[in-house]
Amino acid sequence: MHRRLSIAPRLPLACLLLLLAVGPATAAAAQSAAGEGVAIVVHPATAVDDLTLDQLRRIFMADQQFWGDRSRITLLVRAPAAYERDVVLNVIYRMSEDEFRKYWVGKMFRAEVPAGPKIVYSSEMAGELVTVIPGAITFVPAGDVMPGAKVVRINGRLPGQAGYPLQ
């Protein structure tokens, strides 16, 4: 009984110490991901090396549905609750999650697009599909870009470079 009483007051202290130990590490990981930025990756055969942010926005909004060689663009979008999706919604779409959903329902409803984006559930899935679907374009955290992937410059800059817009 006496021992229990002596341990109980220490539990909050232990939790506090745990939070102090884990908290900075979690924050550091988030800062690291945010610092890397989000890379735009296209199918290796797509004849695009550089896009402006406005062009990228037109593609992601489906105002542009074809590449210059007239092949159809296939958009791969990460499922919700991912850092890279938040960046794309904030910087490219400038929409909340519900606005994003309604935007695509509306595009489909008006028959402006034959399909909405394909949803991917991990960076690996995005990286693999973008290499096998002709005309595909996707986004992944810059640190998760697979070797050999074709990363597109945005406004002439690659992830990690000063002024890269998808940070």
Partner: protein, 352 residues
């Protein structure tokens, strides 16, 4: 309308069997959506009160070839005499490029922003009621258009210009028809418009539209030249603003007669509460003024002025509850109050 019903039945059948086709390959070429809603109405108007089912709307979008797509929209409307199936849209489209899409079929006439933006997708629109100028069954505008349409997106710097240009069957004698029975007047109808989305203000769209037709509402009378001009401003970020204006000019092809004009407009404001963005109060003012002696609209009771106020609550990702109070004055009638509650949803099949 047996042909129309057969087409609608075929479309619904296609909707029913399509999922199997869509799962056959990685790039599933078939997408489906289903919209519907239900309402409760209390009103001072002389119309039926109580619970009612909205339309059940089925959408099918399919890729037939890399540049060839088809879109089908069919509805089932619950009526006292039984359900009515209707083929609303059937569009076969070929994408030459982003700047040119050629389509043929039955469209939502691009003469009004609301008419093409929301139409049967009640969940998409903030309010329960459509504005009077585009209400279902209104003879004010040709809600549907049967013919061919060219559309395209043209980049202008970071901005986008969208155009539409089409030719098709004119209005039927009852004005509400979409020309399904063919071109009655002998002269085709033309529709066109441009929309501009400036890069500097994402979410803003400005547009101008026009519609030209020769209408024979009364086979015994002279045909009437119809010109409809429209303008819209849609600002969708929060707070949202939608404004539309339509101007109608009707001139009988008869010596000694003059043209008459009529007008319709609405402005709607909506605001998502910052602390509760799923909750959106809204208010709309609208009016329809019919010119004295209008050869097409006189006697149809189209004059209208109304204010609606309501709130939309998106309680789930694809479902919403809406409550709306309406204060309306119809033609020479007194002002009437109505209260409507509505639940709407969409079953999306957007994403793989």
């Amino acid at each position: 309308m047996p042909v129309n019903r057969m087409l609608a039945a075929a479309a619904l059948l296609a909707v029913a069997i399509a999922p199997a086709a869509g799962q056959t390959e990685l790039d599933a070429p078939v997408r489906l959506m289903l919209f519907s809603d239900a309402s409760y109405l209390w009103t001072e108007r002389d119309v039926s009160e109580g619970f009612s089912l909205g339309q059940v709307v089925g959408h099918l979008n399919a890729v037939l070839a890399p540049r060839l797509t088809v879109a089908v929209e069919a509805t089932v409307t619950s009526r006292a005499t039984g359900p009515i199936a209707t083929l609303e849209r059937l569009i076969l489209a070929y994408d030459v490029s982003d700047a040119l899409r050629l389509s043929a079929g039955r469209f939502h006439t691009p003469i009004s922003w609301w008419n093409t933006q929301f139409h049967h997708g009640l969940w998409l629109q903030t309010s329960i009621a459509r504005p009077a100028m585009v209400r279902f069954g209104t003879p004010l505008i040709p809600v549907h258009f049967l013919g061919v349409l060219a559309t395209g997106n043209i980049p202008m710097g970071g901005s986008t210009m969208v155009y539409e240009a089409g030719v098709g069957n004119g209005r039927e004698p009852n004005l509400v028809g979409a020309g399904d029975a063919g071109e009655i007047g002998g002269a085709p109808a033309f529709v066109g418009g441009v929309r501009f989305r400036p890069a500097a203000m994402p979410g803003l769209e400005l547009g101008l539209h026009g519609y030209l037709d020769e209408v024979r509402a009364d086979p015994a009378a002279a045909p009437v030249d119809e010109r409809i001009l429209g303008a819209h401003l849609a600002w969708l970020p929060n707070p949202g603003v939608i404004f539309e204006y339509l101007h109608f000019r009707h001139e009988p092809e008869l010596a000694g007669t003059e043209a008459t004009t009529s007008d319709a407009l609405y402005v709607q404001l909506g605001y998502k509460l910052p602390a509760h963005p799923s909750l959106q109060p809204y208010v709309r003012y609208e009016s329809v003024g019919i010119g004295a002696g209008d050869p097409l609209f006189t006697g149809l009771g189209l004059g209208y002025e109304g204010v609606i106020a309501g709130a939309r609550w998106d309680f789930a990702d694809f479902a919403a509850l809406k409550g709306e109070a309406r204060f309306e004055e119809f033609a020479a009638d007194e002002r009437r109050t109505s209260v409507v509650l509505n639940a709407s949803f969409v079953v999306p099949n957007l994403f793989d």
